[in-house]
Amino acid sequence: MIQLNNISKVYKTKTIETLALDNINLSVEKGEFLSIMGPSGCGKSTLLNIIGLLDEPSSGMINISDQAILEYKSKALAKFRNQKLGFIFQSFHLINDLSVIDNVELPLIYRNIGSSERKKLAEEALESVGLKNRMKHFPSQLSGGQKQRVAIARAIVGKPEIILADEPTGNLDSVMGGEVMDILLKLNKENSTTIVMVTHDKLMAEKTHKLIRLFDGSQVN
């Protein structure tokens, strides 16, 4: 499903070069739930951003669904992200000016799906995370856990093959974090959605199928 070969990422400034990822090789099978752990600044989010096509590696190859993604132009990449990937961010990144249901509809807007169909799909997604009763609320009216569940609904509404979650429980207390993790596990189990999750939480990571650790940009066993 996801194949990374010799991925490196170097951040360059005028005076200094920082090696954020060093020769990462990774394979994630369809339906697999992979977690990435490591200390702060070790390159976890950079790796997730590269897998999610939000950032480009300095060198290496990425294949997602057997497609050599790095050859894509930006418009094609946007389309690919829209159809194949779903994102869950630590700080939610919901649009405060839009209601919950409008936020969830976001990926469908860029698929040119009609408004009634979008609404139906968004309601289903919100129902699956237990927030259908809050669909007319605004993000500012929700708790952290509820916001993250809205973010999950937004990530799954387009039924993507892969979900990329960057510390989805990082801003939540243990109860809310547990609830969010249960939703992700259920998604993975029932829909065979491939999930790649960055986390600091060992307990969460242990619930996933596979765990990789990074240290100073390198993969360690």
């Binding site: 418009k75 946007a78 389309k79 992200r81 159809q83 649009i95 000016d97 839009l98 976001l106 807007i109």
Partner: protein, 444 residues
């Protein structure tokens, strides 16, 4: 998608009240000024009654007599050749104009020479008359007059409220008749509803009202008058004055606007054969038919060559309009950059979920166009209020600024251009933000 954009646009505007106020203030004020300027230009130079055929009109409103003589002078250059001073003289010969007399044309010069111009559908000769002091209902008021022929009412399509133009026969019979404007009707006859057949006393003479023309915006003196009298009331010694200068002007309706060059050439040919009075020292006559915009420009920015006056006028007007549009646009661009920067998290999220650059640019431009349209509506209301104030205060004298359909169309186009340009540049800049950086900027 547009429903979503509209919803978001109004949300964003409501949330950022200060930015919205500053933006709307700038947009509406700018558009108010632009609409007022457009209304002014449209009122003065637009094709509306009584000058609906403006594009086909040519005017002879100025005649110049000149004394041109040959002037010669020597230029002396002193140079050193092999250490010896050598003087080199050059004789310069040129024409100089040392005396000019300019005025309107005499009736006789127009009558004898310009009744059979080619490419002409119709023409009229008219003369500015005196200002009559009129006493009525214990008050005195001044009425401007113009002496016209029968064709004047065909060349110009005056909007008549009552009656109609007088005939050629009435003019030849020197009938004591007059056409008045609405303002004069109200001032002289008060509340009287129908004034046809009523009399106006001018310098002790009684004139019967045969028509009343409605108000119109244009302030050009050849159409704006309180009284329109048959030109045959002008004393015969003035009509028969043999000089080329006088008080008359001519207007011609061309077959089509492009014929102006041909008419100009023909007039140039004709004036070569017009004799100048022998008792005067002038030896050159200049008469040039002008389009209305050339005549208008020449009256504001004088240059012997009316096309240059027109060119300077266009440059000045374009510069002013450009400044009025350019400066607020720059300002709005800056405000928009700040406004959009605050939404980097949204930009990041949208990009992550599949928005491409075109989607984002479209969204932000759309939002800006909505903002500009709201500003445009406020600007329109302010412009209507301002036009009303200008008209009622009569600061433009006889001129009236009328808000016509064309003014609205121009204003709407300017508004849209304003909205698109001031939204496009910041939107394009912001859409280039890298997703990862956008997501790092702020959180929701």
């Amino acid at each position: 998608m547009f429903k979503n954009y509209i919803k978001l646009a109004f949300k964003v505007l409501a949330r950022r009240k200060f930015f919205t106020f500053i933006s709307l203030f700038g947009i509406s004020l700018t558009l108010m000024i632009l609409m007022t300027i457009t209304a002014f230009i449209d009122s003065e130079l637009g094709a509306h009654p009584p000058i609906s055929d403006i594009d086909k009109m040519a005017f002879i409103n100025e005649v110049s007599k000149k004394r041109i003589r040959i002037d010669s002078s020597y230029t002396r250059d002193t140079t050193l050749v092999n250490g010896v001073s050598k003087i080199d003289s050059t004789l310069n010969v040129r024409e100089v104009n040392d005396m000019t007399s300019t005025s309107s044309a005499s009736f006789s010069v127009l009558d004898k020479n310009f009744r059979k111009l080619p490419y002409i559908e119709n023409y009229s000769f008219f003369s500015y008359g005196q200002v009559y002091d009129v006493f009525k209902n214990n008050s005195k008021f001044a009425l401007k007059s113009i002496y016209v022929d029968a064709a004047y009412w065909q060349v110009f399509d005056f909007p008549f409220l009552e009656g109609g133009p007088y005939s050629k026969q009435s003019i030849q019979n020197q009938e004591q008749i007059v056409i008045i404007n609405k303002k004069t009707k109200e001032a002289y006859f008060g509340d009287l509803e129908q004034v046809l057949g009523e009399e106006i006393i001018l310098d002790g003479k009684h004139y019967q009202v045969v028509g009343v023309v409605d108000d119109f915006g244009n302030s050009r003196p050849f159409i704006k008058s309180d009284l329109y009298l048959p030109y045959t009331h002008i004393p015969s010694d003035i009509l028969n004055n043999p000089d080329v200068l006088g008080s008359f002007e001519a207007v011609f309706t061309l077959e089509k606007s492009s014929r102006i060059k041909g008419v100009k050439a023909e007039v140039k040919r004709i004036i070569g054969g017009i004799p100048l009075p022998a008792d005067q020292e002038f030896n050159t006559l200049e008469i040039a038919p002008l389009t209305l915009s050339e005549a208008y420009s020449k009256s504001l920015i004088y240059n012997e060559d009316a096309s240059k006056s027109q060119w300077y006028m266009i440059l000045i007007l374009s510069g002013l309009l450009g400044l009025f549009i350019f400066l607020p646009t720059i300002n709005l661009i800056n405000i928009n950059v700040t406004r959009i920067l605050e939404r980097s998290s949204e930009i990041g999220a949208r990009k992550a979920f599949g928005a491409n650059r075109t989607n984002l640019v479209g969204q932000f431009v759309f939002e800006n166009v909505i903002l500009t349209l709201i500003g445009g509506i406020i600007g329109l209301i302010l412009a209507l209020i301002l036009l009303n104030i200008i008209n009622s205060s009569e600061v433009l004298g006889d001129g009236k600024l009328l808000f016509q359909g064309s003014t609205f169309v121009y204003s709407f186009l300017i508004t849209m251009l304003f909205g698109i340009v001031s939204g496009l540049i910041p939107a394009w800049r912001m859409s280039k933000i890298h997703i990862v950086n956008a997501l790092k900027e702020n959180v929701s």
